[in-house]
Symmetry: C3
Subunit: 274 residues, 3 copies
Amino acid sequence: MITLSSDFGSPYPAAMKAVIACMSDTRMVDVSHDFPRQDVRTTAFWLREILPYFPPAVHLVVVDPGVGTDRDALVVRAGEHALVGPDNGVLLPPARELAGGGTIEVFAVEQATDSETTLDPRAVAETWPPGAASSTFHGRDVFAPTATRVHELGVRNIEDEDAFTRKRGYEDFTLPQAEVGESVATGEILVIDDFGNAITNIPGEFVAQAFGSTVDVNGEPTSVERSYAHRSVGDRLLTVGSHGNVELAVNQGRGDEAFAVDVESAVTIRLDFE
Amino acid sequence: MITLSSDFGSPYPAAMKAVIACMSDTRMVDVSHDFPRQDVRTTAFWLREILPYFPPAVHLVVVDPGVGTDRDALVVRAGEHALVGPDNGVLLPPARELAGGGTIEVFAVEQATDSETTLDPRAVAETWPPGAASSTFHGRDVFAPTATRVHELGVRNIEDEDAFTRKRGYEDFTLPQAEVGESVATGEILVIDDFGNAITNIPGEFVAQAFGSTVDVNGEPTSVERSYAHRSVGDRLLTVGSHGNVELAVNQGRGDEAFAVDVESAVTIRLDFE
Amino acid sequence: MITLSSDFGSPYPAAMKAVIACMSDTRMVDVSHDFPRQDVRTTAFWLREILPYFPPAVHLVVVDPGVGTDRDALVVRAGEHALVGPDNGVLLPPARELAGGGTIEVFAVEQATDSETTLDPRAVAETWPPGAASSTFHGRDVFAPTATRVHELGVRNIEDEDAFTRKRGYEDFTLPQAEVGESVATGEILVIDDFGNAITNIPGEFVAQAFGSTVDVNGEPTSVERSYAHRSVGDRLLTVGSHGNVELAVNQGRGDEAFAVDVESAVTIRLDFE
């Protein structure tokens, strides 16, 4: 299986699927092509949360503000999974999660020189090593053929391919950590989901004993509830989302608006509300 | 085949597909993940219109304002199809249509207790009965594994599974019916589609003899046409949509704006316009 | 493989997939269902750019402002590919590209008369020749069954089907060509992509010697760069997009806004900028 993630919207992802389909019959599953444009942090968060639910697979990830520069194309092995994408840090948070505490291995992809490549669509799936036929769409020209190559080779056999060489000095990226004390936790909003739920980096365990009680969120009293529908429609609440993090929400409404927070806003929770 | 419908937008549906892919190689087809948020009525309408075109399948439906409450998870057998989703009525209109006049059978899904479940992604597809590992994303934790279980078991064999028990007092839901007389029909707008066509609950048969003539729609003279292009670009018209209902439309424009209607707006059509 | 393209948004494409799934197990790949409404020109551009990356396939294309009129349904053979859609020109630019200089062959699809068809969902996939059961959704009732029929028959065997007859007087459509001189090129914006890149009809070869230098775009000095990231974030630039055309862009921003252009805006590029 190959999963596909990008910030491409539509219709560019179809060109990646076309190239993959030329090279393999494997199942393709879209994770999302609506990740915020060039937003490595948000994409890394979602992939860290979602990819571990997949069976062993190759995960193609193209959020690539540096396309056309000399940043490398990477293959990252993490347990039975592999990730393929640009060297900008986006692959690392999901890779660490997929490795489940094991090591991750990073490979750079050798690319054909300009003189060896053309914009002929019929050549893309047949060119190896992949060539940056265009300087603006490596998803189609480099990452899709690379992901398919890894899939066909098998995640265990990445080192059998001459075009993949181990790389040390890759870009790393870590999502910010919350500071969690006994009764106070300070963190920030990592992402806002499509429902308007504001997902923090504060672990759900921090409020594990507080369900049904009231805590202080950025100075405002807020109920801690197991799910949205435990409050009336339109009421604000704090819950533990499906990713295991504390989430600021409104039952059938938008938590980001009710709590006046955006991505990167600071969040302080005090359990000893009185 | 498993079809997927939700109001999740992106990227949450990918987590459901991931869980299904852990348990089965079956084909997955998205119906839509852009149903209006928590809107049981609109979702039920579209599923009633679209699901009957599918071959026998298991239909996973997650529009679930009551997630995390004690509302049941349901499996509904309707002819050779099954529907899996929350007990809020959304499954019933499509189930009746899929049953084609036959009986529908409703089962509740036994769920693992909190103490038996964890948020470990690797455990979700292996936990049975399904556990509400999170209280906010039963699509991933309960409905996706249940739909896959039904698929693998076979729609005929639902009662072979101990975790599925027949249920009587489920939530029912019926889309509102129009009042149709000989020359006057009174109904309402059920949904507005992406084109802006305002779909009523008035059956197309009511205007079957009126094609090419003018009728009175909420007091305004309106042409009845077989399709949009029978009027000039920008002109309003009444037609019979692909669902068999009367639809208020504009050729290459938005019917909802031209007729000043929204979902639930009243619509009265008089054939004897003069 | 059957690819699907339309301007339907959601959830209408699911009904087409349902009909196809009743008739075939073949892989379905979405190109896009978000093409601008009734926009033959933009759809033709994208399909011309993207479809050639696919392996041999049947391409279902439904952008159909004339639905319900007497315009024909077409099957177009182009090399090892076939396209199925309405007779409004949208199929021709991608067909010529897929034929790669070879001939294209156009067939009209005989349709069942109204009296032979019903709105019964179970009948659509079993009705042949396809019937316009509805007058507003031929994607579901005519084009999806036709595309599947072509797929099952094989692209080489289109003439074996009695319902397909060769057609001469079909609607043709050609995307506008730029005028390219030695130092001046005059063209127009063909489409704006989701990133805001304004894609012209001026071939990339025109600026092949100008990378790293400054040219005059509609009177304003503009850098020619191999990719977006060669300029600072927010800076405007001219590049050659993945389709091989000159593109007006902004690094991590919207080119259409920075250059104040929209679809069909005139673009003049002078290489001899001083």
